[in-house]
């Protein structure tokens, strides 16, 4: 027992260092998203000045030492004359005003990048939801039919679907572009949704069929005797029993769509249809990139929707993956 405990401590420390190294870049992204360019140039490692000042002032405020609060805050006239920030003299400022000024300064990057990212974010969420619904619906129906019905060509058609998994993206990237151009779908939502459903359903059907094959046949037989049709079986028996695999397919589809960069980048030149991934890249290529905090804030903002999904979907997703669907 004692041996076991010592072993645990060693493993914990190793895992903790791996975790620390994994998270390190993101810690710096968060930290530096709250700092101005000058601060970052001055010292890469460092705590955000604004946050430091805010804590200091709050402590003074609680100790009733408001007169200690000195801040280089430009007055209105200095703003109109656009005096350089470094030339603004430090002066006494009331606590509330100082705090609101500092808060604005800290969150400048976030507010600016939100302005840029918001339309892309709306697009991406819309595209993700539609694609996910399409993949889950079409994939589960086809998986159900292939798994539960014997009809001429069943095995053959299923093999045809599986064989599409062998086609690599690199082969079809250019002709797919030529195709959607010919179909007149460039610069639209269609081009983001339909090809993703077409490609994403293949693996989904594979997962769904594998899972549905494991459902006990007796359930279906008794329901069929009661006169249940295709849809009744699908809706009342298959889906309620398949929450795990549905969750896995949903998560895979959303992750894939959210991370898809090249396809939206190639097919949509109109800024109206950019998604987060292509939008981030274009931000990096534009003037905005010279402002570090804006870029860092954009990385964080673009991760938040998936973080929210993560909170809700982790448990079923982990159960689904752990149940052993992934093998070769």
């Amino acid at each position: 027992m004692k041996h076991r405990k010592r072993q645990d401590i060693v493993i914990h420390s190793i895992l903790f260092s791996i975790l620390f190294l994994t998270m390190l870049p993101f810690v710096f992204v968060v930290n530096n998203s709250l700092r101005s360019n000058t601060e970052i140039y001055h010292a890469f490692f460092g705590f955000p000045n604004c946050i430091r000042d805010m804590t200091r002032f709050t402590i003074w405020h609680m100790q009733n030492k408001d007169d200690l609060i000195m801040l280089k805050m430009p007055t209105d006239s200095e703003k109109t004359e656009s005096v350089r920030a470094a030339d603004v003299p430090a002066r006494k400022v009331p606590y509330d005003e100082a705090m609101s000024h500092l808060w604005k300064e800290t969150t400048k990057g976030y507010r600016y990048s939100w302005l840029v990212l918001r339309p892309y974010m709306v697009n991406t969420i819309f595209v993700c939801i539609i694609t996910m619904l399409g993949v889950v619906t079409i994939g589960s129906i086809s998986g159900y039919i292939f798994s539960r019905y014997k009809f001429p060509g069943n095995r053959f058609l299923f093999l045809i679907i599986l064989s599409f998994m062998m086609i690599p993206h690199v082969l079809t990237l250019v002709p797919s572009f030529l195709l959607v151009k010919r179909l007149g779908m460039l610069n639209s939502y269609w081009v983001l949704i339909l090809p993703s459903i077409a490609g994403g359903q293949v693996f989904a059907i594979f997962l769904f069929k594998g899972f549905f094959d494991g459902l006990p046949e007796a359930l279906f037989e008794s329901a069929r005797l009661d006169g249940a049709g295709y849809f009744d079986l699908y809706w009342h028996i298959v889906l309620p029993l398949s929450k795990q695999v549905v969750a896995v397919v949903m998560v895979i589809t959303i992750l894939g769509t959210w991370n898809n960069f090249l396809w939206p980048f190639i097919t949509n030149s109109d800024a109206k249809y950019h998604v987060v991934a292509s939008g981030l890249y274009l931000m990096g290529q534009s003037q905005v990139a010279s402002n570090f905090s804006t870029m860092f804030a954009a990385y964080i903002l673009s991760s938040i929707p998936l973080l929210i999904l993560f909170v809700y979907a982790t448990k079923p997703f982990m159960q689904g993956v752990t149940s052993g669907a992934f093998k070769a």
Binding site: R4, K5, Q7, D8, I11, H12, L15, T22, M23, L24, P25, F26, N32, Y41, F44, G139, S142, I145, Y149, F151, P152, L157, I161, F164, M166, I167, P168, H169, V170, L171, T172, L173, V174, P175, S176, L178, P195, A198, G199, Q201, V202, I205, N259, F261, A277, S278, L280, Y281, A298, S302, S303, L307, F310, T314, M318, V321, S323, F326, K327, A328
Partner: protein, 302 residues
Amino acid sequence: MKQSRLQTIVRNSACYALVAPTFALLAVFCLVPFVWAFAASFYRYEIGGEATWIGIANYQEYLSDPTLLPSFYNMFILTFIGVVITIVFPLGTAKLIFSLSSEKARYIYRILFLIPIVVPGVAVMMIWGGMIYSDSGLVNETLRLIGQEDLTRGWLSNPDTVLYAVSCIGFPFASGVNILIYYAGLASIPDSVHEAAQLDGATGFRKFMLIDVPLVLSQIKLMVILTIIGGVQGFQGMFILTRGGPGFRSMVPGLWMYFNAFSFQRMGYACAIGVFLFVIILALTIVNLKYFKSSEDLQAAK
């Protein structure tokens, strides 16, 4: 006889109707581009221009393309490092997590290591390019901090380091779904196997190599196939970070295909490169399916 076959097809027409959307989508968005890729590779074709039949000239040109050797060399190095990484780090981490005695701790670690997947891939690339490898980025500033000024360099613009810098993106490579997949494999090993190994005196690393690794072979195999396929066709990282530079030092075939298609407008030539890569991927997949047995096969053979 023929009549009755037709009848069964008609009787099952609902089945065909229900799988029809799948096939319609596949036909339009997967099959057409697939066929088109081969067809277009025999043409000289620019968008807006006429397509001219030139036979196998595109393939001949690619065989003497100045990027061919460097890009395949880079692809090989990157894929090789990728395969080693994808076996060693996630499997090691999964084994460490699995060895913890507390069920709760194991669960928490699995979740914690999964969290980084919420950051979009493009953002990860840009974080590494813009914050870690840049002139005053994390690596160089750390080197300056510990007084190793001489070692600082532009990691992505230096021809000698660019490939390895790209390979190291994502260090320590222990996040994401890979760990979960290995963990599932480790968890499916029956306790009796471990007990038997214990009785035979196998412990620690030896036991890991002799018991765990062979029994998660099917997961390892899956990861290796996926990494190799991804390595042969992947170019997104290079596109975002280096655009193949400096020179052709980080050029990969996929990126060259992209440039030919979307920068030089040479669609036919780009399709020929795509077909070239497809043949390589297909060959690797067949070799893999044929010669590398999965753990089930191994167990059956015993």
